[in-house]
Assembly symmetry: C2
Homo-oligomer: 366 residues x 2
Amino acid sequence: MFSRDVARYIEKRDGGIPSNPDNIYLATGASDAIVTMLKMLVCGEGRDRTGVMISIPQYPLYSAALADLAAVQISYYLDEDKCWSLDVAELKRAVDAARQHCNPRVLCIINPGNPTGQVQSRQCIEDVIRFAKDERLFLMADEVYQDNVYAEGCKFHSFKRVLFEMGPEYSTAVEMASFHSTSKCYMGECGFRGGYMEVINMDPEVKAQLTKLVSVRLCPPVPGQALLDLVVNPPQPDEPSYHQFTKERATVLATLAEKARLTEQIFNTVPGITCNPVQGAMYTFPRIALPQKAIDKATEEGLSPDMLYCMRLLEEEGICLVPGSGFGQREGTFHFRMTILPPTEKLKIVLQKIREFHVRFTQEFS
Amino acid sequence: MFSRDVARYIEKRDGGIPSNPDNIYLATGASDAIVTMLKMLVCGEGRDRTGVMISIPQYPLYSAALADLAAVQISYYLDEDKCWSLDVAELKRAVDAARQHCNPRVLCIINPGNPTGQVQSRQCIEDVIRFAKDERLFLMADEVYQDNVYAEGCKFHSFKRVLFEMGPEYSTAVEMASFHSTSKCYMGECGFRGGYMEVINMDPEVKAQLTKLVSVRLCPPVPGQALLDLVVNPPQPDEPSYHQFTKERATVLATLAEKARLTEQIFNTVPGITCNPVQGAMYTFPRIALPQKAIDKATEEGLSPDMLYCMRLLEEEGICLVPGSGFGQREGTFHFRMTILPPTEKLKIVLQKIREFHVRFTQEFS
């Protein structure tokens, strides 16, 4: 019954493309679903070990889960110079190199991106789906930020919808799973641990094993389930709370969009900080130029240079950013991740303090 | 801060034996904590593979987790003829046999027992602790039913308290973890997924890894955490809700005790059903004599005989019991597990219906 609600919600999102309740699995948040799916897909030993493609930068859940499962992490790099976009040539490079030493079976995509905030174009999603088909990869689409899209001209396209619109050659052939959560978007109820995944084209025998794996565990937390049911059944036009709900949702999303713009603008006025537009999700991942002396100092202390930077900021200003090294970045580049979640007025102060800190830090080590 | 509340609660339970908040790990229910701990402890390949001792009958979480981790399950049998008690000679038999083919490292105990409802004596716990020390086993004490003890002369003794009362030779030497949950006892809030474990004498380097493993995940559901804090901070005598709380708790426990007695008594009036006293927890695990023709019929249908029995009961009476084969039982014996949770008047009807069904089933296959 509950799975039916989720399926109906997905159908509505995807312009009527059917969703089968039997393909929906509730989970203790999207993280739990992602780990479960990786567990299902990882196997083999030595050169036959499963390789899983993840973006760099990535959300560390992925690298941690792969290490835990002893899977092979196949890193593909997002293109920082092109707004952290995903290039299929880079996917190809990564998979070809990986085939020398493991068995690539899974491609993970985070769209909108965490920690990089990019939103994939429809064309790019088509290219990725074609690539997954050609390379026979299981597609894992982490779409938890599907309602967090801010930038002009950007739009969320679900992998499932694009897959089905590409016609039966793809819609019956590419195996995929899509993940969603009550923790993000305008809901932000991350403490409740509600989430689901939809699996598509999964081999029935594998799916039976997935069902078994999920069934030997206890069910996800009931409050999270209840909340998820609210998310997939939002107030309707003829219901009393509809007006207030749409108003609040619009306000939340407009405020996030405003803060996304603000963050990009202010960071780009700081010499030594370069910041891509925050097209979606809730984060910015600006690049920071660090003086050689700061890099040397960090090496001396056994820290990554961006960790030194973030620790200093925390100590001097009480602001906690996450160093880019925790997410992965191209060798020799440095970043940090910051959420855009503080209230606007506070965010302005935070951005101002980071700006001043950056100037001070750069001077100290120049 | 929250861990301090849990530690204080444990200290009070154990007559002042100190509990260190740094040894407390919150979890998404006890199941999550148990799986995490097994994951930490299981390693090795081939003959060096970790062996984990679990009781038969057992709660299937254990066998499922061990299969999932590819650990070796070492079964030790509880003594049905002695009220499902645990005999150290049987532990010794099991561990010696297992040393031929794996590396036994962990001993799991469920006390009070699930599905068997026994409560271990203090003497037995001492014996088990001595055994764990001699055999160098990590002790996992599943104590989620610690407040569910009903039988005259039975009392819950925590493994930690007994360990510390045995003196420093034991209290500084035996590594153990104890698990608790908001799902059982008089709380019964199983949908919230709140739980914790306390680890004792764990090697600091191993503990650092445990902390890391827990830290890469998101925190347990917040409503479950809040509820757990209520469990460890019950109303105090000078607080307004104290009177109602103690009254309600006493009523819940008295009703469970009454239903435990009722279940044992009624089952033992049925020819072909033998039922041990339900000393604690929430289940009864009666033995059922099945006619040879029923066993043959089940074999023919590819079912375990107790599954055939339970399916028939479900179809004929709408009552769902879990076949003993799901928990493990001595070859050639058959059981089912039933909770004692239905309201007393309903439970009486259920017991009566099972009684009638059993007579009918026995006649049909005689």
